[in-house]
Symmetry: D2
Subunit: 320 residues, 4 copies
């Protein structure tokens, strides 16, 4: 192996730049050449590819987003696109590829692996829904953003009497909502994994009012159904004591300076990915397994999306 | 004057606690007794009033919200409520009152002044719509929260191609949206003071797309019409190149640790308010006039709500 | 078991309040009474002990420091003090005790355990030097504080040519310095675990200067010898190209809002500690073992202090 | 006027990038060409000068430091260097120059003005010691950094009993120390403007101990004499009740994301500087005068360094 590529793909997450830095610098330290592929698989198909030196990885560890950018690439979901991608990799003289991204990106990496190309995947996603790793790059920063927003809401919530609904990201996974709710002192969490009735929500808010609490805080996962707008409408139509206010954090959750945890995780996974490629342990995702990094076949990593662990639901019920 | 009261009223704003601290400590330093009135005029009518010592003002300067809480009080908008309020002030042996709050709160203070009670007002509002002061307590912290959210959006916006709409507070005043837009690098600002057509908004987004920008960022004041949901709907129905995403910051903007500026402003206004009461300069609002504090009659402060200055619109057009 | 006590002891760390909250609420949820012991073992000997209800654990999760305060207690290092402590625990009707703190505090807990009292320990320390847990409560927040300071130094370091020495905490353990150095883009890390010569340090700074870098950043652990003042003096006496500037973060590293990670870790450990007491698994420290919580005998936890893992030294060498 | 230059000089301060952005974009909007001069007067003498387009000012408003870098330039303090600088300006075809920096930098600008070159100065300095402007670019961000550090110290200070000495920047001006002390809840401030005896400091710490306070916090300006190390030594030698701990924030105070206030101030001053050059109002510094921008001759701006206003000393005495 003489030359490897690195790309970020799918939704970006804080810490991706730290991961790029680690891949580039480790590869160079191991005597490899490195090329950066812009805009994920879309840039691969377009040949938007350039050499990266040690300096290209300087001054980026603290920045949100990804200097290699990302894009969606429907063409790469089809065999035709995948074959073209393989051709581009060969044209560029690449012997290996590190793909940093979520579920869909890792499936793209798996397709290349199945065609015989040497790939390593790194879980980059704020949703923490990737199978085979305890944490994905970006989750910790996002959780800090959510917790900070909840702290701010509680500041003002205590001053006058309101019920706050706050929508957080997470796609089909309730991790961010559940853990955010535990750490932000929410009265209730509404997540895709647990069905709920609008009456229950109204009852929780009403109970908080009747008990003399000066506010109620409800964290709603974006994947929860009914969605936040429907819930707000229902609460406003029914007498729940408090006025109802809505916050939708949106993509603010994807940005921001990456936290220490995400920088460290990204660095460890980036270093390990290059090492696994060099060892010939191909077609795997490098993940966090307890205190150490470890590998899992890409098939397994992409076999299904993780749900929030029951432990967190139990924690919420105990301490909230 | 031997004993004064202090209350926070209306929507809370970051820095109110620093203001309470300054009022309490200055009054004590000047030999006065101080009583805290909980929940604004509502707490006054209920007699929810207690002595405050130097220690009650300790450890609060860095906290968002207000330790005296706030509440709405429709009763106090009527003469009957105002007379009852006056009676309560007398029952408590209060010779003066400092009211920290927005437009409506200052009108309540004015009503007491007109009945002959010694009041001083302090502008506390995140909207910066209070007449007669350059800045109100809370505006700076809120602006920092908005700018931080815009920085995070731009991090992720540069990674993949999106148009972001973000709604910020400000009631009828476009200050937060306009200045936030200047400082956060927005492509467009939509504020109550300037009418706009949905087609114009679509054109700006489309232009950004056609020019090859990798995102478009639009800051929408909560008082802008049509509102953010209508704008998002329109952009999604018309071909503007980018996908559209919405963020509604909501009450997150009211919370958070107060900034240095707000703590200092609040401290200076709190100290000055007690001094003005002692000097017998009654029925005024203490505000920031340039580099110094100054006073303005409550009549003038509440005569109308301020709009955003033209300077900021011009600044936006020049540097964005 | 009907009534348990909880205390924080030794140096405080961010997240201790989240831990207190979890212990109090879990105990109440399990039908126990809870008493808070102020100022660690010193407060125990003085009988500074009070009942805690669910409300006493409200609104504290986001606050740095510890609402139960801490203090040193030399008396409790001797048998006489320990026996008096046991007597106080019995006088208060306590059947169990949760001790949150570092090395010395856990040794205090072990002494009580050996006298037959039911104790559980929780590792609270910013130094990450406690044996038997992957992370201690407070480490993550401290690391974020350090990384934030290093980011700020790099901002200004790139603007004009300087060598910066920054001292970080960690006692005899180089974890904070090593990981901070990796994540903050330092040129060199100086830690107690690895001896170094002043000439080497001067050479690294000189090399950076000669290679045309616009700054050099060196992270110095407080336990490193020679210490930061001696290093600065040496660099100033020898020609190293750059001007030399010193930052000593000091106790700023112990404060601040706890991060999401520390709040979650503290909550999980607090919940688990109460459960272990109820299960009769006594005399253990509850720690983080990979993705899960686990227990280790207090003897083992206090047998020696952990050093920084070699993995981190290797990481630094690869990516810096 | 067809082409102007812009440079940052002296110590950098947060917000300088926002100022560069405003100068570049306003100049372009007014039909001018713009050139960036790297490393202040040193880069001018070296001819380190390049064209700047609208894009060069993109994505920099949120970054600390300065993309144009700064350097000291002893040669420019002498006539010979100044004449060479003038020659370079002419060689580059520059008709005007905007200098962003502190005292020394503005004196350099004045020298060029006296030789007939069209210059405008903008006060960039964290020390707030520049005459003729209410605030300099960078002061507000630095104050927020200091206040954040003081909040963190108080978190931990309340947990166990310590006296904290914290050194902050400000050169000969006590502004940062005085205002930081007011807003951060310090027991005492030690600044260059007010002589003090070591015994007084020891007395204040001892009084705090005797009164039962759980900590004492003293903010020491870097220009205060005796300096922080001497004070710490004295307190340790004399019985003051508390243990003594030292924090030296150092250059951390110069970095970090610029605050909203500094971004706005920098933007307004940058826009105004270009306008003044175009109006032919030459040789002035653009500053903040109350709520508006205004100009002052560079002679006046550099005639002396400002001291902290008495108002702040009085504020400290009233509210602390």
């Amino acid at each position: 192996m003489k030359c490897i590529g690195v790309m970020t793909s799918g939704g970006d997450s804080p810490g991706m730049n730290a991961c790029i830095r680690a891949v580039v610098r480790t590869a160079i330290a191991k005597g490899l050449k490195v090329k950066g592929i812009q805009r994920g698989f879309a840039g691969l198909l377009d040949g938007d590819i350039h050499d990266m030196g040690k300096r290209d990885a300087s001054g980026i560890i603290q920045r949100g987003g990804t200097v290699l950018q990302t894009a969606r690439c429907p063409e790469f979901m089809e065999k035709k696109g995948q074959v073209l991608g393989l051709r581009r990799l060969n044209e560029e003289g690449l012997d290996g590829l590190v793909v940093i991204g979520g579920d869909g990106s890792l499936r793209g990496a798996l397709a290349l692996h199945r065609m015989g190309f040497a790939v390593a995947g790194i879980p980059g996603s704020i949703d923490n829904d990737i199978n085979g790793t305890d944490m994905s790059v970006g989750v910790d920063t996002t959780l800090n953003t959510i917790v900070c927003a909840l702290d701010a809401l509680r500041d003002t919530a205590s001053s006058h009497e309101r019920a706050f609904l706050i929508e957080v990201m997470g796609r089909k996974c309730g991790y961010l909502a559940a853990v955010g709710g535990i750490l932000g002192g929410a009265e209730m969490i509404l997540i895709p994994e647990i069905p709920f009735e609008l009456e229950e929500v109204a009852q929780v808010v009403l109970d908080a009012y009747v008990q003399g609490k000066n506010h109620a805080l409800i964290v709603v996962a974006e994947g929860a159904r009914p969605d936040i707008n429907r819930i707000a409408e229902y609460l406003r139509q029914h007498q729940v004591g408090f006025d109802v206010r809505v916050t939708i954090l949106g993509h603010v959750q994807r940005g921001g300076r990456p936290s220490a945890f995400d920088r460290l995780l990204a660095t460890r996974l980036g270093v390990a990915a290059v090492k696994e490629l060099l060892k010939g342990n191909l077609g795997t995702m490098i993940g966090l397994k307890g205190a150490m990094t470890g590998t899992v076949p890409l098939e397994e990593a992409t076999s299904h999306q993780r749900k929030v662990r029951d432990e967190y639901i139990e924690l919420f019920n105990l301490v909230s």
